[in-house]
């Protein structure tokens, strides 16, 4: 019996080892990096984002033409670009990372043209261009519409599609068809569809639930309904207790509104 146990153990360990001898295994590395990205709760933590971006970039050594790696690098770049927005926007760095994001997304969609998440990011990255090249108005509108159309066609119920669409609407002036009132139902739609959404596997994107709750809270802050806002912040923290977006950004806006 003992012998048998040991043999099995030997066999098992040998098996693990043989797998691990290619420790540069693609899906393992992807899972690790995706988990690390998930763990970044504060999306303005630039140093952490740069590190994870590097992790993904190194995985390219294993699969040179992998659409998903390009997607994740693009996602990191997009968040790094956001981290430069803030009160004193650094338009040079916003442009640098946002353009890199767009390049990577284009590569991703060239390699796999039916991955809705890439088009959803494209919508977002494209709208960032207003920050540094508003003179290319026509191109921004044209590319934005194209990405939106494809994303909607591929996954009309994707919660991140609603989230990005809503965020763009939120920051568009009322005169140009945007504003809080139009954005809010979209954020709520996003929140609803997050409830039932399941990513395909561990390496698929799974971000945004806390942002949906946080943005709904911000809408309420703007409407001066602070109790409702607090309610949504709590809802968001329930699903992502360490969310830097909720704790660092939304809470701050809420507290400031409360002081007034």
């Amino acid at each position: 019996m003992k012998k048998l146990t040991l043999t099995v153990l030997f066999f098992l360990i040998a098996l693990i080892n043989s797998n691990k001898s290619y420790s540069d295994d693609y899906s393992d590395a992807m899972k690790k990096a995706a988990k690390k990205l998930d763990a970044v709760q504060d999306i303005s933590d630039r140093a952490a984002l740069l590190k994870i971006r590097g992790d993904f970039e190194r995985i390219l050594q294993l699969k040179k033409n992998e659409w998903l790696i390009n997607y994740y690098m693009a996602y990191c770049d997009l968040m790094i670009a956001w981290s430069y927005m803030g009160e004193k926007p650094d338009s040079e760095n916003i442009k640098k990372y946002n353009e890199s994001c767009i390049d990577l997304l284009n590569r991703s969609t060239d390699l796999k043209d039916d991955f809705a998440e890439a088009y959803i990011l494209k919508m977002s990255a494209n709208s960032n261009r207003w920050q540094y090249e508003p003179n290319k108005m026509n191109d921004i509108i044209a590319k934005g519409t194209e990405a939106t159309d494809i994303a909607k066609k591929l996954e009309p119920e994707n919660p991140r599609y609603f989230l990005v669409d809503a965020t763009i609407t939120y920051y568009t002036p009322e005169n140009f068809g945007g504003g809080v009132d139009k954005a809010m139902p979209l954020f709520e739609k996003s929140w609803e569809s997050f409830k039932t959404y399941e990513p395909k596997d561990e390496t698929y994107p799974n971000w945004g639930k806390d942002q949906a709750a946080g943005m709904i809270a911000l809408c309420y802050v703007k409407k001066d309904k602070l109790d409702e806002a607090k309610n949504w912040i709590d809802k968001g923290l329930e699903s992502a207790p360490e969310s830097g977006f909720l704790k660092g950004y939304v809470m701050k806006q809420y507290d400031e509104a409360k002081k007034k």
């Binding site: 540069d24 590395a29 590097g54 990372y97 002036p173």
Partner: protein, 740 residues
């Protein structure tokens, strides 16, 4: 117990190789690789990536550019360093047990794509090209430009405004030396109140329908034929951008426009209707209503239809009709009465474009325009009809990544009809003055063809070499134009440009009609241009300086004693243009343009080389716009320029037979009007009305009420000179637009 120990030892032994990351020597120590990644100026590259190729062993550099990682790989390995916007770099290392490796690496910034170089000298562009000097929104917002494309262009160096109207002149030459092209069609009369006495003309082109605007005051491509000085090339959207309607209610004009785009984006249409209502505007701005009969009236209707039969092709039809009439009181030495004018213009264009394969693009256009004008003043009373038809074909082929080939051909037909009564002596306009009746009809054709190649031998160098030929069927003369344009980006943000070429324009048909045997040669100019541009962050800061020299030959001259025109004039223009544009913050942007011009010609009435008609020595324009809030914007334009040359009258002779004084002229163009000055301001307020986008515009043109001259006139015997001040005195305008 013992079993447990054996088990644990065994487990530790077994597991160790995988803790060691599967290295070649199971129990070996990992090697540390570390160092710094910097850019050209030793600036740390935060976020640079390093990896041993073929593995995921590596690290990301931190904020001081430092990286470190451990690896169990040994032997010769390649380290790959990467960073956004920088060139990749590889370093070979030999990894040995127990020896850490320090590897410091400097990366070089990647060169920007060639497309970023704009080669053509003397050009100012707007639209979707990578390098725009001005956006359509900026054009509409320029104070004093009244949303008029042509007036906006005159805030750039190289162009002057003509008599406060919309027409532009370049390097001293006439407005007829500037060619306007819309989607391959030549626009000959895109104006209302054109050529009318002391009246501002306006263009009928709607800037919002344009996706590209390119103005070039010299050294332009061989694509453009039969034009001596400058080209304004406009490209309209192939498809409308959406569906909607817009209503405009202004103090002087009302308009309604609509756009439609079908759901499958294969069919689109637009329509534009507008009319002037000048009575209240004139009253508010203190015009003497009695000076007008009738009060100026202009109206127009236009539209487009677009169809996309497949992904690669596009069919678009444009139609535009406009008409205007005006009566304006003028007291001249020999006649006191109303200058009356009635004009109408029809323009239409049909354009088809298609991609053939992935590297060839073909577009064909068929255009037609008919302009009618009746003017009368005293004895002068005539009807002019100008008819133009044009067929044009352009082909672009990408031969390789470094070579583009353009080829094209056009045929243009032009017919002029002139019927009416003209005074025998231009100083006697009385109703009983001696006169002649003229009834003439002439026509000509022109066949043009060009071939052009765009070469990009290096990433930072660009050359366009072209050759065109034009044949004029009436004079049976041919013009051959070789042209060359070069661009070199010698350092980041720094571009050097140059152009040299031969340019020809056949004189207007009316001059042929008044020549011997239609024997006029095409007017000729050689352009030499050298320019430098510093352009940081796509227009964040733009500085341009350009020197030019133009040599003219075969200009049309008029015989001093008859109506006869002949070839034989010449001249030259030289000068420097400076343009500075800056978007200081997102809220404030400004540009300043300055032009120095010295333009001398023997042309038309001149007997020797004298100042050209629009030889404006110094011309300075400042434009600034400021966003007070997201919803309120304001702007200011200030111009100051040397007065226009004119020919003074030094005395008169009494003509006893007709009881009229004949002026004695001083040397042609020897006098100058006083310095021209004007300041314009505007405010725009965007808001939401009934949930729709709405805008209110308030503007004051000529805020300081500067007295700018339109012309001098004289009393009956020329002993007293009187000033005719331009109609652009201080003017208030208020407009309201609503998206429907």
């Amino acid at each position: 117990m013992m079993e447990k120990i054996i088990f644990l030892t065994l487990f530790a032994l077994l597991i160790s190789p995988f803790v060691q990351q599967g290295g070649t020597q199971g129990f070996a120590q990992d090697v540390k690789i570390y160092g710094k990644v910097t850019g050209e100026d030793n600036k740390p590259l935060n976020g640079a990536n390093v990896v041993i190729e073929g593995t995921i062993d590596g690290a990301t550099a931190d904020s001081i550019g430092y990286y470190e990682f451990e690896t169990s790989k040994t032997g010769q390995q390649s380290l790959l360093f990467t960073y956004i916007e920088y060139n990749d770099r590889r370093k070979t290392v030999v990894i040995e047990q127990g020896r850490n490796i320090e590897m410091n690496v400097q990366l070089r910034k990647a060169e920007v794509e060639t497309e970023e170089i704009l080669v053509t000298a003397s050009s100012y562009t707007s639209g979707q090209q990578s390098q725009v000097t001005i956006t359509p929104l900026e054009i509409v917002r320029i104070p004093g430009s009244d949303g008029d494309l042509y007036r906006a262009i005159t805030t750039f160096p190289g162009s002057n405004q003509v008599d406060e109207g919309s027409r532009i002149t370049v390097r001293g030459g006439d407005e007829n030396e500037v060619l306007t092209i819309l989607d391959q069609a030549s626009l000959h009369h895109p104006f209302i109140f054109d050529d009318d006495f002391n009246t501002s003309s306006y263009t009928t082109i709607n800037p919002w329908g344009l996706k590209g605007i390119n103005f070039s005051s010299g050294g332009f491509s061989a694509k453009y034929g039969n034009v001596l000085s400058a080209v304004l090339d406009l490209k309209s959207y192939e498809m409308p951008q959406g569906t909607g309607a817009f209503l405009w209610l202004g103090l002087a004009n009302v308009g309604l426009s609509g756009v439609f785009l079908s759901n499958d984006k294969k069919f689109g249409a637009t329509v534009d209707i507008g009319q002037t209502i000048l009575d209240p505007y004139f009253r508010l701005n203190g015009y003497l209503i009695d000076s007008y009969n009738p009060i100026p009236l202009a109206r127009g209707v236009g539209g487009t239809i677009s169809f996309k039969p497949n992904d690669k092709s596009n069919l678009k039809a444009i139609f535009d009709y406009s008409e205007d009439r005006i009566g304006i009181r003028n007291t001249s030495p020999s006649y006191d009465g109303y200058f009356n004018s009635k004009a109408s213009t029809i323009f239409s264009n049909l354009k088809y474009s298609t991609g053939i394969g992935s590297k060839t693009y073909l577009s064909a256009g068929l255009s037609f325009s008919n302009h009618k004008d009746n003017i009368s003043y005293g004895i002068l009373n005539n009807d002019v009809k100008k008819l133009y038809g044009k067929l044009r074909l352009d082909l672009t082929h990408q031969l390789s990544k470094k070579i583009d080939l353009n080829f094209g051909s056009e045929y243009e037909y032009n017919e002029d009809k002139f019927a009416g009564r003209v005074p025998l002596y231009n100083y006697n306009l009385r109703l009983d003055a001696p006169n002649i009746d003229i009834n003439s009809n002439s026509h000509t054709g022109r066949i043009g063809t060009y071939v052009e190649t765009q070469l990009k031998p290096f990433k930072t160098f660009f050359a366009i070499a072209g050759l065109r030929a034009d044949y004029h069927t009436l004079s049976k003369k041919t013009a051959i134009d070789p042209r060359l344009s070069l661009g070199w980006k010698f350092a980041e943000n720094n571009i050097l440009r140059g152009a040299v070429g031969l340019y020809h324009q056949f004189p207007r048909l009316e001059y042929y009609a008044q020549s011997m045997d239609f024997n006029l040669k095409p007017e000729q100019a050689i352009h030499y241009i050298l320019g430098y541009e510093f352009n940081k962050s796509e227009g964040l800061f733009l500085f341009r300086v350009e020197a030019y020299y133009k040599d003219y030959k075969n200009l049309v001259i008029k015989d001093a004693n008859s109506f006869i025109y002949s070839t034989g004039g010449k001249g030259q223009a030289k000068g420097i243009d400076v343009f500075i544009k800056s978007r200081i913050t997102n809220k404030y942007s400004t540009w300043i343009s300055y032009a120095y011009t010295d333009s001398k010609r023997r042309q038309y009435d001149a007997q020797s080389e004298v100042s050209a008609n629009y030889d404006i020595t110094h011309n300075l324009t400042f434009v600034g716009s400021y966003n007070i809030t997201d919803n309120i914007t304001t702007g200011l334009t200030y111009r100051i320029s040397t007065g226009k040359p004119y020919t003074p009258v030094s005395g008169s002779n009494y003509d006893t037979a007709h009881n009229v004084y004949e002026p004695i002229y001083s040397e042609t163009k020897s006098g100058r009007f006083p310095t021209y000055q004007r300041m314009d301001i505007n405010f725009q307020y965007f808001f939401s009305l009934f949930g729709r986008f709405a805008i209110v515009v308030f503007q004051i043109n000529n805020l300081l009420n500067q007295k700018n001259l339109y012309d001098y006139t004289y009393n009956f015997d020329y002993s007293l000179r009187k000033e005719i001040v331009t109609t652009n005195k201080r003017q208030f305008y208020l407009g309201f637009g609503l998206q429907l």
